[in-house]
């Protein structure tokens, strides 16, 4: 399947579903090391994005991602809002006016998204943030694309790596975001933002099936 506007919309729709379904799980993760709102924030944000997309259906993948970026920015709040907002905005810019996102462009878009998160949040890998899901995802996607993988294979590689990356945040001590205030007590819990990132990338892969 080509990664066209339809795929983009499907991705966003599946992301919204994933946020709704995992709302309480993400709240619970945030409850352990944060302030119990991540699931609520993400669910509210993607509902807002869905509403916007339905209002004025976009014509290109980049337009869909940009509308999503704006909706997230203006409705998620907290740390996740500006971070995801920037990520989707930069991905949109990277894609430009392409109607179909080729694997290498896809990797560029994912990398741009990660770059946006890092530019805003200044987190490094190992800080126990969403960066720990996106970093391996981008690497795995690049490898899959370099190996000549199909779009859905590249996306699956990214999703698998993000899931592993999210899981791998569990033993870490947080050094960025709200969980860092807990110091050593943050170890032993999965980072909620890394988990929502993994869910979003999984949605991208599923949308391509």
């Amino acid at each position: 399947m080509g990664l066209d506007t339809k795929w983009t919309l499907k991705w966003l729709e599946l992301s919204a579903e994933a946020m709704k379904e995992n709302r309480s799980r993400l709240i619970d993760l945030d409850r352990a090391i944060g302030d119990s709102d991540h699931g609520e924030n993400m669910d509210r944000g993607f509902q807002a994005a869905m509403a916007k997309l339905a209002d004025a259906p976009p014509e290109t993948p980049a337009a869909a991602l940009k509308m999503t970026a704006m909706a997230l920015m203006s409705s998620v709040g907290g740390a996740a809002g500006p971070l995801y907002g920037t990520a989707f905005l930069r991905a949109s810019t990277a894609i430009g006016d392409a109607a179909d996102v080729e694997p290498s462009l896809l990797v560029d878009a994912l990398e741009a998204a990660l770059g946006g998160i890092v530019a805003r949040g200044k987190a490094e890998p190992g800080d126990k943030t969403m960066v720990d899901a996106w970093t391996p995802a981008v690497e795995a996607a690049r490898k899959a694309a370099d190996d000549g993988g199909l779009p859905e294979e590249v996306l699956r590689a990214a999703a698998d790596a993000a899931a592993a990356g999210a899981e791998a945040t569990e033993p870490l001590v947080a050094r960025k975001g709200r969980a860092s205030y807990l110091g050593e007590r943050s170890a032993g819990h999965r980072d909620p933002g890394a988990e929502s990132s993994a869910l979003i990338l999984r949605a991208a892969a599923e949308a391509a099936l």
Partner: protein, 333 residues
Amino acid sequence: MKKLINDPKAVVQESVEGFGMAHSDLVTVSTDPAYITRKDAPVAGKVGLVSGGGSGHEPLHAGFVGRGMLDAAVPGAVFTSPTPDQIIPATLAVDSGAGVVHIVKNYTGDVLNFETAAEMAEAEGVQVRTILVNDDVAVEDSLYTAGRRGVAGTVLVEKIAGAAAERGDDLDAVAAVGGRVNSNVRSMGVALSACIVPHAGQPSFDLEDNEIEIGIGIHGEPGRHRIPMEAADGITDRLLEPVLSDLDVKQGENVLLFVNGMGGTPQSELYIVYRRAAKALEERGITVARSLVGNYITALEMQGCSISVLRLDDELTDLWDAPVLTAALRWGV
């Protein structure tokens, strides 16, 4: 979960609406996007002060909108920083041309959202300065962390910077005074119980009947460590000690002592904490020249308190004493 609410998703909107109805003499409320402005904003020639953050800390921030304090408050969802699309119109609404100061508690979310909003407001021609509040000594400040949190000191920054703006200080001066308050205040908190975030529906952490959390923030998050319950005097000492040593208050100095309730602790208990803290300061030869005791920046119905000490000089004292007329703090008018 038992709360006096209707739809958990409507808590902030309904509460802000009620606030606006009860204080229509002081404020104007916009509900979509949600922000509260001083009735007479923008005040000609005056620097505008905007603060905001997650809801659940009431009376902060809306309770401090009015003469001599904030020009606008921007409430996010409960414990979630507001978004730029709220902060921007609030900023524009209170700019008289003299510029606007954003008072931002140092949390990643608040910082990023206000940063974005400031950028966009500047693009619209409003000069913006930001005061970052980070008074919580429970959290280590280092290159490798998100830095200290902003907690109860925020109230003092808002009051004193607000007085500076009211007396006519220009944009940089107001920002500088606010920054000076922030550099001279330290806080530390304790929780005896958790709180329940409406949309989460369950306590933010679980504590045994004989345990307390030391070094908490204001978002129901667990603290730095957990200890067995103690008497009020002992807890007070545990909070005051790191505050004083970090602030390095010297004998003979004047301070403002602020005992802040987290929402669910009776006032009588706050005064018991105040009593001990004031005596401890006196014993060190430090003069408690001003005080504030009450629920001013809360974590919903959490039981517990924080202690803040602000080092005073003549200017800060005068600005503290200056008239203020808001829903939650008023004197001199």
